[in-house]
């Protein structure tokens, strides 16, 4: 007989629940007590167990779509004509909890394979959602939206613009394996060294006073399929550009695979946001609270430079520093930005 599976009442605020993974495909048989799908509520992601033994015949709520508690999410064909509560789980010992093995074939190969599979299916489903004219936001996106709005509305930003000679940096990158060294590494290192000289940039404004941000980290803003994250690079002043680059790339891989360990919000002191790869010449970023500043990095481009009454062309990069005026003055931030430029121009 046909059994209609409804979305369980799992959210804490009656908000819709999003499907982030189906662990069985139509045609597959499922057992009562085995996880059938994974959902994201307003509070957490969790597995939802099948309430019957049967065959999954139809998935109604597709990947990435949401359903409210009580709404039909899937249809199963069950052998028993009895009410679904007939307990015919596997003859486990009385103490055994329901099996937790996924129904779909176990992911093979590299760690994070299962997460990566989620991500791929999520991307496939995203197309359909946009066609409906509404894009439901993930918890991460909603959090980012709230924090950015709060920052822009409550933090008194001011902005300092300058540029730096990028040629020493280009030479240093060419000297190592250029494909494997991301540009952000140089900016993270320069910011970290500048913070050592301008310690006040390591403070945040809190309750009418300045409090030192304990975590010695410089953040890097990354965009993972439209979702914003800040990857904190810990103790960056003591690392080489290569180490920073490797660490950053590993974090991006983790985020792309949906590994929750990398999604955890961890504070930094200053963040670097680089849009050079999108051909942006310069831009004004929004501070990531509770940090004191954020450095917007544009693309490296050939720029005419006047020197000794003659004009030459130099590879330069535009930098915009957005600063929390409650933490430092314009003068102090200006000196800090100069120190960043100095670090970048070291050959």
């Amino acid at each position: 007989m046909r059994f209609e599976m409804k979305m369980p009442d799992l959210a804490t605020t009656d908000s819709p629940v999003r499907v982030v993974r189906w662990m069985a495909a139509p045609g597959q048989s499922v057992r009562r007590g085995e996880p059938l799908l994974e959902v994201e509520t307003d509070k957490a992601t969790m597995d939802v167990e099948s309430v019957v033994n049967g065959v999954l015949t139809e998935i109604v709520t597709k990947l990435n779509e949401t359903a409210s508690a009580g709404e039909l999410i899937a249809v199963l064909e069950v052998a028993e004509s009895a009410v679904p509560v007939v307990a015919s789980t596997a003859p486990a010992s009385p103490g055994a909890s329901p099996a937790t093995a996924p129904i779909a074939p176990a992911p093979t190969g590299k760690p994070g394979g299962m997460f990566a599979r989620n991500r791929q299916s999520a991307q496939a489903a995203a197309v359909k959602i946009e066609a409906s004219g509404v894009i439901p936001l993930s918890v991460a996106s909603r959090t980012a939206a709230r924090r950015l709005q709060e920052s822009k509305q409550t933090v008194p930003h001011f902005y300092l613009q300058t540029s730096a000679n990028a040629e020493p940096m280009i030479a240093r990158r060419a000297a190592v394996a250029p494909q494997k060294l991301v540009w952000d590494a140089f900016f993270v290192l320069a910011v970290a060294k500048a913070i050592q000289k301008f310690e006040r940039m390591a403070y945040r404004f809190e309750a009418e006073q300045l409090v030192k941000q304990d975590a010695d980290a410089v953040g890097v803003a990354v965009d993972i399929d439209g979702e914003l994250y800040v990857v904190p690079i810990a103790a960056p002043a003591g690392k080489t550009p290569q180490q920073i680059s490797d660490e950053l790339q590993a974090a991006v891989r983790g985020l792309r695979d949906g590994d929750p360990q990398f999604k955890r919000l961890r504070p930094a002191r200053v963040t670097v946001s680089n849009l050079g790869s999108c051909n942006v010449e310069s831009f004004i970023p929004i501070i990531n609270p509770p940090e004191s500043a954020i450095l917007g990095v544009g693309k490296i481009m050939p720029t005419p430079v006047a020197k000794d009454m003659s004009v030459s062309v130099q590879q330069r990069v535009a930098l915009t520093l957005a600063v929390d005026h409650r933490v430092v003055s314009g003068r102090y931030a200006g000196d800090f930005l100069s120190a960043i430029v100095q670090e970048l121009e070291l050959s």
Partner: protein
């Protein structure tokens, strides 16, 4: 905190086979009730959220088996096991969870407030540590009435840092009230592990500061729980109460059905699963020759079919009406009762 690994033994106590088998059956009733209710919640038959006690069956059953029929218990938001152990029927409990007017609280309590005063269970007090001062008050009443009754007050490790815990235990201590304070220490107050919120590793040590006796017991050994409670109840009846019992156990589910329980480390879960109270007691019964595997399977099958029959009945129960809104709101004044 280490998991108790010893095998259950009866020590010097002479147990009768029917008594032992009834302890086992009761734990199975609780386990199957909780598992069944989990699916009712998932399929949408059960409203609200639920707080379940799979893995903690021995605490409820061991304590209640050592109490007399007219003794009382107070319970918490996680009270299904306490209710079944204290003698409430599957029907009256399940009907309550369905919100039916035939439930133990006429459908007005729901999962977090199950109880039946006629069976010695105050409807569950869902405020953490809320039952502790209440139990002290009941103990005071019994003492003033010179009644031999006692109270067993269930609460979790999360309650120990509440102000109400201190006030209730202190009051009971200074007046030697007949209360057994039963801490079901399952290591987590919602998602917070106990060592993050308590400096000393043993809850029972708190007893010293109130000048009462404290004891830590393997809460997954139903006989140890039973014996410790029997001893504590005897002290209480002789005016030597109160007693603080700490029962070490582990919850096999999230705090509530909405909690995926990601904070319990996998190896910790597995370690405790190896020492499941029902499995351990079953092994003890088999070794003692009281029952065999087939017999245990019969108990389980019977319990499940009884539960399923209750579910079928629960779906047909009447719901409260608007007229019921004003009933059960006030209790008669004390002098009117006589």
């Amino acid at each position: 905190m280490t998991v108790a690994t010893h095998n259950i033994d009866a020590g010097s106590v002479a147990y009768t086979p029917p008594f032992l088998l009834e302890l086992y059956r009761k734990m199975v009733v609780i386990r199957e009730f909780e598992d069944g209710v989990k699916f009712l919640f998932l399929e949408g038959s059960m409203p609200g959220t639920i707080h379940q006690c799979q893995g903690q069956e021995a605490t409820a059953v061991g304590v209640c088996a050592a109490l007399r029929g007219d003794d009382f218990i107070t319970s918490t938001f996680r009270g299904h096991g306490h209710a079944l152990a204290k003698g409430l029927t599957v029907n009256e409990l399940l009907f309550e969870l369905f919100g039916a007017s035939t439930g133990c609280c006429a459908g007005k309590g729901g999962s977090m407030h199950v109880g039946n005063m006629d069976k010695g269970m105050v409807p569950g007090i869902a405020i953490v540590a809320g039952g502790v001062p209440l139990a002290a008050g009941m103990g005071l009443a019994f003492k003033m009435q010179k009644s031999p009754q006692i109270v067993a007050c269930f609460f979790g490790d999360g309650a120990v840092a509440e102000g109400a815990f201190h006030e209730g235990i202190n009051l009971a201590a200074i007046w030697n009230l007949p209360v057994i304070f039963v801490c079901e220490n399952n290591l987590y107050g919602a998602s917070t592990r106990i060592d993050k919120v308590m400096k000393i590793p043993v809850v029972a040590e708190r007893a010293k500061s109130y000048g009462i006796r404290g004891q830590t017991v393997d809460g997954n050994d139903v006989l140890k729980v039973y014996e410790a409670t029997l001893h504590a109840a005897d002290e209480c009846r002789r005016g030597q109460g109160p007693v603080l019992l700490e029962l070490l156990t582990y919850r096999r589910t999230g705090h509530s059905r909405r909690d995926p329980c990601h904070y319990q480390p996998k190896d910790e879960r597995e370690q405790w699963a190896m020492h499941d109270p029902i499995d351990r007691f079953g092994k003890f019964l088999v070794q003692r020759g009281e029952i065999d595997e087939a017999g245990m399977q019969v108990i389980r099958t019977t319990v499940i079919s009884e539960f399923n029959a209750s579910v079928a009945e629960a779906r047909r129960q009447p719901m409260p009406t608007v007229g019921d809104l004003t009933t059960d709101v006030f209790a008669p004044a004390a002098e009117d009762r006589s």
